[in-house]
């Protein structure tokens, strides 16, 4: 039974991967990647990695692919087809490189003489790879990588907003919105700042010395 599931899932992953690199329209490439990711989640399940399989489907096939689809539809189809391929020689060279890489990896992995890869792997306990075990590992042995990963996600989110925001980003000659710095709190403020007088619209922005002068003149 597991053989049949394995071969179906492996065919799905390979077909999805080939679809990603051969389909012309990027939208279909993204859909092929979704097929690939879901088949890969089945392979993860066969390897007793339940939590990783669930995260794969939810995070990758769900969230990340939605991001891709949004960007593809935002950019639009016609600007994405590109100006021709790399040419016949380029394609041939790329496939030669890929084939050489496959052969090299097969020699490196399968010819390594590791006896354990010829077996089904260690006998695992029933709770292997479930959320409880992964969570315990993340909060005990791998606490530092966990925190660093969350910080990395924060940095990536800030970077993406900075790159893609409507104004600024990489653009020149656009005025930045007014910002406030810590020094502004130390500067002398106009006299009426923060009073009801300012709220009612009588804010003639007087400096403090001017206001004192005016008061003196009045008395």
């Amino acid at each position: 039974m597991s053989y049949i599931v394995f071969f179906i899932a492996a065919l799905g992953t390979l077909a999805g991967a080939i679809g990603v690199i051969t389909l012309k329209d990027p939208f279909y490439s993204v859909l092929a990647l979704v097929v690939h990711l879901i088949s890969l989640a089945v392979l993860f399940l066969l390897l007793h990695a339940e939590f990783v399989a669930a995260a794969q489907v939810v995070v990758y096939a769900g969230a990340v692919m939605v991001l891709y689809v949004f960007v593809v539809s935002y950019i639009g189809g016609e600007s994405l087809t590109g100006s021709g391929g790399p040419g016949r020689a380029g394609t041939f060279g790329a496939f030669a490189c890929g084939g050489a890489l496959v052969i090299e990896l097969f020699i490196a992995v399968l010819g390594s003489g590791l006896k354990a890869i010829g077996r089904g792997g260690a006998h695992v306990a029933p709770g292997f790879g479930n959320p409880e075990q992964i969570g315990t590992l993340f909060l005990t042995r791998f606490l530092a990588p966990f925190e660093i990963a969350s910080f990395l996600l924060l940095l990536a989110a800030v970077g993406a907003v900075t790159l893609a925001r409507r104004r600024g980003g990489l653009e020149d000659g656009v005025e930045d919105p007014p910002t406030i710095s810590a020094v502004d709190f130390l500067r002398p403020r106009p006299y009426y700042t923060g009073t009801q007088h300012e709220t009612l619209g009588h804010a003639e922005t007087l400096s403090a010395t001017q206001a004192v002068e005016r008061q003196e003149r009045a008395t």
Binding site: Y74, T81, G118, R119
Partner: protein, 99 residues
Amino acid sequence: MTIAWYLAVSALIFAIGAGGVLVRRNPLVVLLCLELMLNAANLALIGFSKMWGNADGQIFALIVMVVAACEVTVGLGLIVAMHRHRLPIDVDAMRELQG
């Protein structure tokens, strides 16, 4: 099912992804091919995790997924910025850094 089969599938996916990075010129598809390569690495990591009966490899795979999500976010931000500046969405046309 022996671990060797999973490693063979992983090697094939990695090679397909690497070939795609070389062939395609659309940066969106290049990002997709990078995802393929990262997923191949994930499959190998989880296969080895099963081989040893040790869940550390699965933690490694999850961290790889986090890094892939970050890479996608920044890469898609770059592509959107390219589109805003009316630059061609083509990796061969982006050669300002080339001496």
